[in-house]
Structures are given as structure tokens and as C-alpha cells.
């Protein structure tokens, strides 16, 4: 208790705890999808910070282990308690507060989420994996600090070395399964994913068992004998088995999945969004209704729209089509959703000739009210002519020219 209390209060570990708290909380709360309040964003915020948290954990652990080792060399040598026990108590006093800081940050984020109506729920195994990564990074720093001679720069050097190793690993273009064994995550969470628990669990086991193995090797006073090998064997087996699992799954922790947790509004079309995106549902439905009016009587007109993520688990039920909405920072984000619908279900994929593509693109922008040009509908004569039609004229024009549009054969003569 003396060690734990004093280390907590009077060592760099306290600084590490505060840094991890600040980093995790600010990153989790600061990482938002504009317009929405999602747990997935909180998780991504915590995940984005994992390399920084790892650097902090490695740095303070190395610093603390280095100075503890230097000032206690004789005491440790002449201790009657087992070297392994003494070492593990100290390592625990260093690493547990760092891990605890992560969970305190998570608790603060969860409290904030509860008061702000954040949609969704965190994957506990994802959080456990992030925490275990901090423990491994701290353990690596601890081992480095313990084996190196006493120097003031051991802590900062360990932190920088860990960061450099991460950069080099990413630059090496190693398979993601290998990258996933590094104690810093670059995974991405979303409402529209299912977590692969086997990978997350294996990652957590790998981080923890490697930490335990490193500490065990450090704590053994003598050159490993048969007994020491016997002690280390379970951890070696766990490290190898969990590491291989992560590598063989290529570190994939999510797979596309629409939970089909929807709230729906309106008719012609009925728009169904995930409750986390509900804030945008009425204005977005208005944009789609305008679009549905213009395309009425054609196959392009939507009847029922379900929110999906393009390319990931993008499988709307029969009679529905996908609507995409990533963020709502500006009105353009809503019209961009319609634009993406048009691009997916319109003629763009049929186009191979230049003229048809050009006029088709102009029609797509007019239909969705989304213009890539900053001049908007005033960008050129074609877009101006399309936009200047009344809704009734527009609907009539599109219905009359739908076949040409669909076959990507619109010409200048077709334009209003």
C-alpha cells in the first residue's frame, strides 16, 4: 500500500493519469459527426487517442521504473520477499492507475452521453481492448526503464521510440493484422457495423498476456530455469494463440451491418433513418420529397428510403432504396444525400459517352439540388435553364426525357 499510495501521489504516474484523462475525454467528446450525437463517435474519439495514450503510458512508466530501479537497486537485491512479487507490486502501482485513468475517462464520457441523449452503446470489448493497449504500452515502457541505466531522458526516449515504431510500422505497409498487434488502434466504429468479438477479444488477450510475459521475465531474478519456463509457458501460449488469431483475421474488428433500428417519417417517400440521425430526418425528408416530386412517374422516384452506409452492409429490404447521410453540418449535406441517391440509382453508371455524361450530370445536380460548382445552378446555361423551370415544368420535362436520361443519351436539344 505504501508503494501504491506514494507512487500515485509522488511520481510521474500521476502526470500520466492526468494526461490520459485529459486526452481521452477531450478526444471522445470532441470527435463528433456534425449534427448528430453518436456513441460510435465517442468510441472513435477514444480510439484516435490510443497512440497518444500509449506514448504517455510508455513514457511515464519508463521514467518511473528507471528511477525506482536506480534508487532501490540495493534494497531489491537484499529483499527477502520474492523478486517477482516486489516487481509485480511496483509494476501494478504504475500500470493500474494508467488503466484506471482510461476507465475514469470512459465513465466521464458515458455520464456525458447519458445526459446528452447520445445514441447507441459502446462495445465493452472494444473499450477493454483500448485499455489493454495502454497496459501493454505502459509495460513496454516499464521494461525499458527497468533495464536501462538511470538517465533523465529514458522516459521521453521510450515515449518517442514507441511513437517512432508506430510510424515505421504504418509506413512499412505491413498487413493490418500485424499493425493490430501494436498497442495503438486505428480501428473505426460506426452505427452501421457489427463488432467482431473474436478479434477484439484476441487483441485484448494478446496485449495482456504479452504484458504479463514481459513483467514475468523482468521479475525473474535468475536466468530462466525449468520452473521459470513453466511459469512463462501459459503466457507464451496465450501470446502466440491470440496473436495468430489477430493476424489471421487481418485485425478486422468490424463488419458492415445495418441494425435496422429506424425511425421513419413521411410519404412519397418514406424516409427511415437510424435514431442517432433523427435530428436531420424532417429536413432530409423535405429534400427527398422535392426530388420525388421532380421524378414522379419515373423509376427514379423513391418510395421508401432506408439509411445505409455505401458499400458496407448496404442491403435495403425489398421495396426500399438506400439513403446515405454521414453528417449534417450544412444544408449541402442533405442535398448531397439526394445527389448520392441519384448517382447510385440514376443514369451515371450507364454513361460512356461524353455528351450524355455531361447533360446527365447537369440533370443529376438539378434533381438533387446539389451542385459541385460554387456557382450552384448559375454555373452555366444548362443548369440555369433546368433550375428556372417551375416544379410542374420540371416534373413534366423529366418524365418526358426520362428514357434519354436513363440511357445516357441526353443532348443539347433535349435541354429546356
Amino acid at each position: 500500500m505504501v508503494v501504491i499510495r506514494s507512487i500515485l501521489l509522488r511520481s510521474p504516474v500521476a502526470v500520466g493519469v492526468i494526461l490520459i484523462l485529459i486526452l481521452e475525454i477531450t478526444s471522445a467528446l470532441g470527435n463528433t459527426t456534425p449534427g448528430f450525437n453518436l456513441w460510435a463517435d465517442r468510441i472513435n474519439g477514444l480510439t484516435n487517442t490510443s497512440i497518444l495514450a500509449a506514448v504517455v503510458a510508455a513514457g511515464v512508466s519508463a521514467l518511473e521504473a528507471n528511477r525506482w530501479q536506480a534508487s532501490n537497486r540495493v534494497r531489491l537485491r537484499t529483499a527477502s520477499r520474492s523478486h517477482l512479487r516486489v516487481r509485480s507490486y511496483h509494476a501494478g502501482a504504475v500500470l493500474l492507475p494508467l488503466a484506471l485513468a482510461f476507465w475514469v475517462a470512459v465513465a466521464a464520457v458515458a455520464a456525458h452521453a447519458a445526459f446528452t441523449g447520445t445514441y447507441g452503446a459502446p462495445s465493452m470489448l472494444w473499450l477493454v481492448s483500448l485499455c489493454c493497449a495502454i497496459v501493454l504500452a505502459g509495460t513496454i515502457g516499464y521494461v525499458v526503464g527497468s533495464v536501462l541505466p538511470h538517465r533523465w531522458y529514458v522516459g521521453p526516449a521510450a515515449a518517442l521510440a514507441l511513437y517512432a515504431a508506430y510510424v515505421l510500422l504504418l509506413a512499412s505497409r505491413a498487413p493490418y493484422g500485424i499493425v493490430s498487434l501494436f498497442p495503438a488502434s486505428s480501428n473505426y466504429d460506426s452505427v452501421f457495423t457489427r463488432k467482431i468479438l473474436a478479434t477484439l477479444g484476441s487483441q485484448s488477450i494478446f496485449f495482456l498476456s504479452l504484458s504479463a510475459l514481459l513483467l514475468l521475465l523482468l521479475g525473474l531474478k535468475t536466468i530462466p530455469l525449468l520452473r521459470n519456463l513453466f511459469l512463462a509457458a501459459p503466457f507464451v501460449i496465450l501470446v502466440v494463440a491470440s496473436g495468430l488469431t489477430v493476424i489471421t483475421t487481418n485485425g478486422q474488428v468490424t463488419t458492415g451491418n445495418n441494425p435496422r433500428d429506424f425511425i421513419c417519417v413521411g410519404e412519397r417517400p418514406t424516409l427511415c433513418l437510424n435514431p442517432g440521425y433523427a435530428a436531420a430526418i424532417d429536413p432530409l425528408q423535405s429534400e427527398y420529397r422535392r426530388f420525388a416530386d421532380l421524378t414522379a412517374g419515373t423509376p427514379l422516384a423513391p418510395e421508401r428510403l432506408e439509411q445505409n452506409v455505401q458499400g458496407i452492409g448496404d442491403e435495403p429490404v425489398a421495396g426500399s432504396r438506400s439513403a446515405y447521410l454521414e453528417q449534417w453540418a450544412a444544408p449541402d449535406d442533405l442535398t448531397f444525400s439526394v445527389f448520392r441517391y441519384v448517382k447510385k440509382y440514376g443514369s451515371a453508371s450507364q454513361c460512356s459517352n461524353a455528351e450524355g455524361s455531361y447533360y446527365g450530370a447537369e440533370v443529376d445536380s438539378w434533381l438533387s439540388n446539389f451542385y459541385e460548382s460554387t456557382y450552384g445552378s448559375a454555373a452555366n446555361a444548362v443548369s440555369r435553364a433546368l433550375a428556372e423551370q417551375t416544379p410542374e415544368q420540371g416534373t413534366a420535362w423529366f418524365r418526358a426525357h426520362y428514357d434519354s436520361y436513363a440511357s445516357c443519351s441526353l443532348t443539347a436539344n433535349d435541354m429546356p
Binding site: 508503494v3 506514494s6 509522488r10 528511477r67 534508487s71 537484499t78 527477502s80 516486489v86
Partner: protein, 254 residues
């Protein structure tokens, strides 16, 4: 306690680097305070460090209370019954006086209740009670030295090895330490390496002078004083006797 020497070191060979400092060196240590004297570099620290951790000894045998030191996992009983104050004592930055001594009590195997009692006792005896909450690294060198002594004694060891424990102490502190050591020496074998012959005169029961890897004098302080037949002009007492021993051994007369 068993009769006979507290510690028997038999035929030790001790190295510093690749150089042998002691070969086939033997010594018995009994209850009481033994002062080890010798010129600089003769190997007093090497001897105390070796006895503090016999695992570092290349050849020879160390028996504490007639039980042989066992390397590896069997070394715990030896360390539980020995205390050591190294020449360069370092504190763990941030620890208070109480933390420091409590930590060593824990390392030496005391449970928390025994530790609390032992720490309170040793801090009181070394007049450190009022400094218990102070951080060690902020205290003067002399007080830090007393904290080091408290560490060496906190677990009530049978054998205590002190490498120059009174260096840097002011007269008042030296008096406190001498009184403490004198009292503890009634029940413990205390070995004290020192250059300060007045310490030897004040508290030692036995004096051992080492030179060139051998014991060249082993007797009481009075016997060492009695060796002063050369009548050095500027020294007297223990110091004169010690210098005479060194002189005779350097010239090969003894």
C-alpha cells in the same frame, strides 16, 4: 539464538572487476559491534557488499546462525535476518521518511501490523519521529544517513552491515547514532566499516584491520591502542595503533 558466531564467512574469494581483492578470506562475526578498518581501496566496501548479498561471492561459504546461505529462492531467510546500509545510500524520490522505512520493512517480509510497530520504534530510537512525514530527498545528508540506518535496523535483523554510517553526521547526530548502535549491538552482530577512529574508540567491541586481502589485526580497541609502541608524535589512541599496524604490515615487520 544458537550459540557460536552469528555469521561465519569461510574461505571467501571476492573480486572487484577481474581483480581478486580477497582470496580464502575467513571471518566470524558475533554479537557486538565489530569495526572494520583499513586504508582506502583495501576492500572494506567489497567485503560488506559481499556479506550483504552472498550470491555475488564466487567461492566460499557464508553461514548465518549456522545455516548456509542458499542462492536463488532459498535466499529469503538470509535477507530477512540481515540489514545493510551501503556507502552510497539513495532514497526513492518522493518517499517520506516513514514511506522509505516502511517500504524496506515490507521488502524484508514484515506484515503491515509488525511493520507499523517496527517503523515507529526505529524512528523513535533514531530521533526521526518528528521528520516522519518529510520527504527524504529534501532532508540534509546527515538526516538521510539516519534514515538509511533506520532502514537497516527496521526488521530487527541479526546481522547488520554498515558502510561508513557516521560520515556526514554532525556531533549531535553522531552521538544519537553511536548511542543507538551501542544499544543495538547488545543483541545483534553489527559490522561497521569506517575511517573515523573515534567512532571505533567510542562504540566498538572488536576491531578488525584488513590489508591486502587479509586480516592483519583482530582484537579489542584497547589491544589496538596497546600496539602503539612506535610513539607517533601527532597521533594517539586507536589511530596511532591502527597506523602502527599498517606500518608494520607494509614493511613486513609483523
Amino acid at each position: 539464538m544458537k550459540k557460536g558466531p552469528v555469521l561465519r564467512a569461510i574461505d571467501l574469494s571476492l573480486q572487484r572487476g577481474s581483480r581478486f581483492i580477497y582470496e580464502d578470506f575467513s571471518i566470524d562475526l558475533e554479537i557486538g559491534l565489530t569495526a572494520v578498518l583499513g586504508p582506502n581501496g583495501v576492500g572494506k566496501t567489497t567485503l560488506l557488499e559481499a556479506l550483504s548479498d552472498p550470491a555475488t561471492i564466487r567461492r566460499g561459504e557464508v553461514r548465518l546462525n549456522d545455516e548456509p546461505f542458499e542462492r536463488g529462492s532459498g535466499d529469503a531467510p538470509y535477507f530477512a535476518r540481515t540489514g545493510f546500509l551501503p556507502q552510497k545510500w539513495t532514497s526513492y524520490r518522493g518517499f517520506s521518511v516513514r514511506d522509505t522505512v516502511s517500504y524496506v520493512a515490507w521488502l524484508k517480509g514484515l506484515d503491515s501490523r509488525a511493520s507499523n510497530d517496527a517503523v515507529a520504534r526505529v524512528l523513535r530510537d533514531l530521533d526521526l519521529e518528528h521528520l516522519a512525514r518529510e520527504r527524504v530527498h529534501k532532508l540534509s545528508g546527515g538526516i538521510q544517513q539516519r534514515v538509511g540506518l533506520a532502514e537497516a535496523f527496521v526488521h530487527d535483523p541479526l546481522l547488520v552491515l554498515l558502510d561508513e554510517p557516521t560520515v556526514g553526521l554532525d556531533p549531535e547526530q553522531r552521538s544519537i547514532v553511536r548511542r543507538y548502535l551501542k544499544n543495538e549491538a547488545k543483541t545483534k552482530a553489527i559490522v561497521l566499516s569506517t575511517h573515523l577512529t573515534d567512532d571505533v574508540e567510542a562504540i566498538a567491541d572488536r576491531v578488525v584491520v584488513v590489508l591486502k586481502g587479509s586480516i592483519v589485526f583482530d582484537g579489542t580497541p584497547d589491544e589496538l591502542v596497546a600496539l602503539n609502541t612506535a610513539a607517533e608524535n601527532n597521533t594517539a589512541g586507536i589511530e596511532a595503533g591502527y597506523l602502527e599496524v599498517i606500518r608494520l604490515n607494509s614493511t613486513g615487520a609483523l
